[in-house]
Every structure is written in structure tokens, then in C-alpha cells.
Amino acid sequence: MKYDKLKIGVYICHCGMNIAPKVDVEAVVEFAKELDHVAIAREYKFMCSNPGQELIKNDIKELGLNRVVVASCSPRMHEPTFRKACEKAGINPHYFQMANIREHSSWVTKDSKEATAKAKDLVAAAVARVAYHRPLHSREMAVKKSILVIGGGIAGMQSAISAADSGYKVYLVEREPSIGGHMAKFDKTFPTLDCAACIMTPKMVTVGQHENIELLTYSEVVSLEGFVGNFKAKILKKPRYVDEDKCTGCGVCMEKCPIKKIPSEFNERLSNRTAIYSPFPQAVPKTPVIDPERCRVLAKNKRCGACEKFCDAGAIDFEQKPMYLDIEVGAVIVSTGFKTIDPTSLVNYGYGRYPEVYTSLEFERLNNATGPTSGKILMKSGKPPEKVAIIHCVGSRDVRYRKYCSRVCCMYSIKFAHLVREKTGAEVWEFYIDIRSPGKLYEEFYSRVQEEGVHFVRGRVAEVTDIPDNQEDFGRLTVVAENTLTRQPKRIPVDMVILSVGLEPADGSEDVARLVGVSTDGDGWLTELHAKLAPVATPTGGIFLAGCCQGPKDIPDTVAQAMAAAGEAASLLSKGTVSTRTEISYIDPDLCAGCQTCLNVCAYSAIQFDAGRGVSVVNEVLCQGCGSCSAACPSGAASVKHFTDKQVMEEMEAILN
């Protein structure tokens, strides 16, 4: 259907020397002039430059062009540029079509004649298509002025603080009883050996007290609906069995609880906690939770109530039920972090088999002043080790487990080596494949620890065994590796082995990804929109990523990303409105037979069935324009605007004729 008389302008770009010498631009111009409805065809050195755009604008105004074709580079690069030029000159931006004769022709074709012929075909196709373009308009919608942050590690806390500081209401949802994440478990952080608690605790307190932050710990997001600017989230608050408003955090209940032998998750099961517990002394909020699986009253229906009896504040409430909270937000920041790889299946490292083999997180707790040994590095026997081995790349850089480099374990291993030397004077062997220390002051830190006399052995450990080479080492562990720099097989007897386990996505992060409509990569990390140019945005508008949920990273990078995500979210909110997509599906009610095939194929649940009229209807806010419905619709009722059958088939026909 062509309405007014078509006047198409065609512009062939030289792209300096990128198109012109290979494609005979002049010939293409002459060819274009002969195509139907072409009012003018021109060539120019750089179409995307200001003078190039002016050319188009002038022609639209002076010649009354109502369609524009530019044959140049990839639409990924400059489609927005030229659409904007059209719009400025007064025609609908969708009256524009681009032919990619650079990436798809001049750069990939050896023969100049062939490249020219291909360019002609592509121009003909674009001209044929643009004739059927329709004007499309988007709508502006108001944005909710609040932000949901999922995950309260250092990433989530920082995002929340930055966003809240800029004046927006923030809901911070953390599934554990306290915020803090992994960093709360550390004592010192590389490379500067800052005390983790000293830099972290103030942030935790800020989060707990910020007037713009509503902290929802022991909570999970169970559903998220809506679209950029207008999300509706449902939050489940798990019952703590302690009233947060009444509890003063005195801790008496924990002292009185008779169930004391529950392995503490926070201490990596190296010490015990009670049934009513707060994971660690600096927890925020301080309100404890009752473990319903272990509490005598809740789990076994037996008498106890010691906590209740001794709580002066009367905060214990066995009747608490799960609560659901509905909130509306304009943007979501996901910061669900990571977990460490469980080394049990790497049996050759003996984790779980030999008591003196620790994971790095266990070591962090051993080394922590609030940990099971009050910060003394001790073996299970209570004695300090004399020889310690640290094994890099456990589960990382291993195609059978995680093929990638986990990025932080080299540095934390070096940190461990330093701490062991400092606290125990033990001899330390680090077995590494490569030392990866790209960061400010990282190499300096490595160098310093080398000077402290740590043995760095370049070789991945083959096994940790309790079979000693010499009888006097009986009872010790032997670490077997090749020093690949000297080609010497090494069998080193040690007292303690630390496994520098890699990072993998947190449990449940796939569920969170599905919830917010973001895809995950092959390894399970949430995928950003663009690794370099949009590292905290996602393909789903209004959803941002911060910290390790996007991939392994250290604290400096995590914090930088957290601030970036908060900035992006705030900039979205401060704009006040969002515009709807234009290239979305439309179901023609006159053609729709009501078969509902489309409902089943739409991955975004963007189609509803209008039983009254007996037809399906697209929700234009939810529709992403994927076209699954249009391809599936047996009546040809559904079609994606700007990708209609007519448009695609005209393009094809022009190529084949």
C-alpha cells in the first residue's frame, strides 16, 4: 500500500577508502537512479559526517523526498544517525532504510566487479523495501521513582547507597538474615590489606539507617512484572520468628538457646551456632532469626521457649507467617554475587578426605578475628602449621569444571601467603599456573610477598596425598606438582593445604535471571548488554547488573560497577519518562481467528486473548518484537511492525530479480 507519491532519495557512501575503491560507487548511483520511485541518487565521501547528513536533510526539504536509503556501513553503527536526520528534516524516522555495502560487501569481497554487483542488489533491495515502510510512533510513559536492588553484598549495598543518595527510594532485598555477602567474611583485603570490617561495617550501618533505603533481609523476590520504568515486584519476607521492631539486638536469646551444635554457615561450618542466631556479630540488622528446622519448638513441637522467656523486649514470635510485599519500582539492580566452587569432586585434592585441606573461604574465617579461632591460623589439632601449600586454579581454567579464570584467586592466594607468613612464620608454597595480577598495586603486592620468602612454584598441583615420601613426614600431607620452570617433579610435605577455589554464579541466580528477564551465559553469569560499551545494562530495559553476578571480579571493580549501575538507574529515573518500542507486533483483529497459537509462542507473555471479541491482543509495552507470533500465526494476523511480510518479501524479491 503506497499512499502519497513515493519520492526516494538514495545515498551511496564512499566511507573514505573503505567502500569506494572496491565498489564502483558511480555505477551504483547510476543503477539506483533507474530504480522505481527513486527521485535522486547521490554519492558522498562520508555520509555519516555532518555535511553528509545535511545532504539528506536538504534533499528532503527541497525535493520533497519521503523515503531515504543510505548505502554505507552496518545499521548497527549509523541507523540511529540517519533516522535522526530524517526526523529533523520532517519525515518519520522509519521512512529510512540502510544497505550495508561495507561490512557485507566491500570488506568481504575480493573481486571489485562482484562487490559492485552485490552492492547494487543490496541497494535495490533497500529501495524496494523502503517503499513499504510505514510511519511508526512511540509513546512516552512516566517512570516510577524507586529502585529494587536484589542481593546485599558489597555490590548491592553500594548500589543502594549511591541510588538512595541521589534521592530515590531503594528497596534492598537480601535472602540471608544479614547483608554483607562474602566480603563480610574477610579479615583483610588485597592489595592494600585494608581491614574488611573497617571499610565494610560503616557501609552496612549506612544501609541500615538510610532514610531512603528500605532493607528487606531474609527476603526474596518471587515475581517481577512490567517493563522499564514500571515494574511490579512481589517480595517474600520469610518469617524470622523475631519481631524486628521490638528486638534490641541484645543477644541474650542466643546465649540461652539450648540447641548449640548447628554448623555455622557464616563460619563455613568450622564452628557452631544456636537455633536462634545472628550470622555474625556485626550483622545488619542485628535482629536474630530462628532456624525453623532446628528450633525445638518449631521443628519438633517440643517445649523450650528459652529465648522467649529471656527476651525482655518480648520480640520472639513463634506465630510469624511468611509475608508478601508488593512494590512498584522504575528500575532493578541485580547484585546476587557468586559462590565458590565446591572442590569435593576434585578428589585428587583431598578436600573432605583430609582434614587439613581447606577452601579459601574456610581460610578467610580461620584468619578472621571474629572467626572460629579468633583469627589464629591453627590446624584442627590446635597447633599452628609449619608448612602451608596454597593451590591456585582449583576448579578454574579447567574445561571439566569452569573453563574461565576466576580472576580474584591469584590475588587472594598471595594475600593468604602474606597472612600465613606474618601470623605463623610458616613456610609457604604457592602452586600457580600463571600469576594474574592486573590491577593497581597488584603486581607490587605480588612482588612484596615474593620478597617475604614465599615459594612460588609454577605448576598446577596434580594431587594432595597422605602418602609421604619419607617416614618422618607421616601424618603430613604431600603436595605433588611439577615445577614447570625447572622440569623438576616436586613432592612437598606440608601441614595445611588451602584450595584457591574459583567463583561460580550464586545458587538461584538462574532463577533471578529468569525473573528479571535477563539471559545467562554458558557458565551461568548474567549477561550484560555489551561487554565494553554497556557493562552494567542488560538487553531488558530498566534491569542493571552490579558485582559478581555478571562475572568474577574483585572488590574495587565490584564497587565501581555498583556505582555505575546506580548511576544508570538514577539517570533513567531522573529522565522521568520512557518511550515505548516501535518495532513491535500488531495483531489485526479483522484477520485474527482466535486460535491463540501466538499466546503459546510468546516468551514474554505479551499477548492476551480478548474473549469478548474472540481475538488476541498484543500488550505493546511487554512485546519485544521478536516475531515468534508473526511466524507462527496461521492466519497472517500477527506481524511485527517494520518487519511485515510485505516488507521482507519485497526486499527478497528485489534481490532475486
Binding site: V399, I433, G459, V461, T484
Partner: protein, 181 residues
């Protein structure tokens, strides 16, 4: 033959190109039970091959020390079939006449395969006898063992000959097998 060509030949064997993924971590060499005897170890062999030092790789004794225990294969983080590459190097060094002369295992294998070629089966004693001609000291060391076995009626010299021995003997030597990998 020049080393570049040999390198290409190696890469074009069934698993040859897999060594390109080797990250030189040394897990294979460290896992190997006979690493102490090996001058290079599997890891260094792969580095040599990638550097094009094919003479060193093919004349190396390392592959001949391999006892096919699979420990390296089990642990290699890049899933490199080290053992198959060892087989490949041994076969190549035979084909290009670079078998290390000082090594005893080629002789042992030859003794073994001769026995199979003649009888279709082997007996340890027969292999020992064939091998002992070249390495009398090793054989001699084992004489007292042989006596002990004899005492326990555990020594058979001639393996039972099988009908198929002629078929075995006539099999073409050195035919190339290309595997889908």
C-alpha cells in the same frame, strides 16, 4: 625431513592439534608415575612440538617411559588425551627412524610383538627370552624369579599356538588409521 614438515605431520594425526590447547600447567608431568625418569615429561614434549623442535620431541625417551596408566589424562584440565599423543609420538619416531637407541622399552615392545606375530599369543617367558638377548642383565636378574615361578608351576615357555597366528603374522605393518576425534 625438516622439522616444520614433521610438525605438520604430527598436527595432522588424530589428536595432534589438541596440544594447541595445552596451558603448560604440568599436571600431566606431575601425575606421571615415571616422571622421575623422564627428561622432558609430557608437558615439555608438547612445548617442544609447538616450538617446532621435532627432533628433540621424537628422539625423546619420555614417551617410551609411558606405562599407559592414564593418570595424566584423568587430570589434564584441558582434556588433552596425553596418552594417545604418547602413542602417536612413539609411532612417529619409529616411522622416521628416531627411536632413542638407549631406551629399553622399544626392545621390550619388539620382543612382545614378535611373540604375538609368531604365536598369536605371548608367554611372559617367551617375551623375556626375546628381550633378554638384548638386555641380558635385566633377564639375568629375573632368573631367580623364574625359578620361583617354576617351583609353583607357573612358568610356561611356549604360549599355546593359535590357528589365527598366520593371520596375525600377515597383517600389514604400519598402515595409517585416521580416527574421528
Amino acid at each position: 625431513m625438516d622439522e616444520k614438515k614433521l610438525q605438520n605431520i604430527f598436527y595432522n594425526t588424530s589428536y595432534g592439534k589438541k596440544i594447541l590447547k595445552c596451558i603448560q600447567c604440568g599436571t600431566c608431568s606431575a601425575s606421571c608415575p615415571l616422571t622421575g625418569l623422564m627428561e622432558h615429561g609430557p608437558r615439555e614434549l608438547f612445548a617442544l612440538i609447538r616450538d617446532g623442535d621435532m627432533e628433540l620431541a621424537l628422539r625423546s625417551e619420555t614417551p617410551w617411559y609411558c606405562v599407559s596408566c592414564y593418570q595424566c589424562v584423568v587430570r589434564c584440565p584441558q582434556e588433552i588425551p596425553v596418552i594417545d599423543l604418547m602413542y602417536c609420538l612413539k609411532r612417529m619416531s619409529r616411522e622416521y627412524d628416531m627411536v632413542p637407541v638407549s631406551h629399553k622399552i622399544p626392545d621390550l615392545y619388539r620382543a612382545f610383538s614378535q611373540a604375538v606375530d609368531h604365536h598369536g599369543r605371548i608367554s611372559e617367558a617367551m617375551v623375556m627370552a626375546n628381550y633378554g638377548i638384548l638386555h641380558p642383565v635385566d633377564a639375568f636378574k629375573n632368573i631367580s624369579m623364574a625359578l620361583e615361578l617354576l617351583k609353583r608351576k607357573r612358568l610356561e615357555f611356549f604360549p599355546r599356538q593359535i590357528i589365527g597366528r598366520r593371520w596375525v603374522a600377515q597383517l600389514p605393518a604400519g598402515e595409517k588409521v585416521r580416527k574421528n576425534t
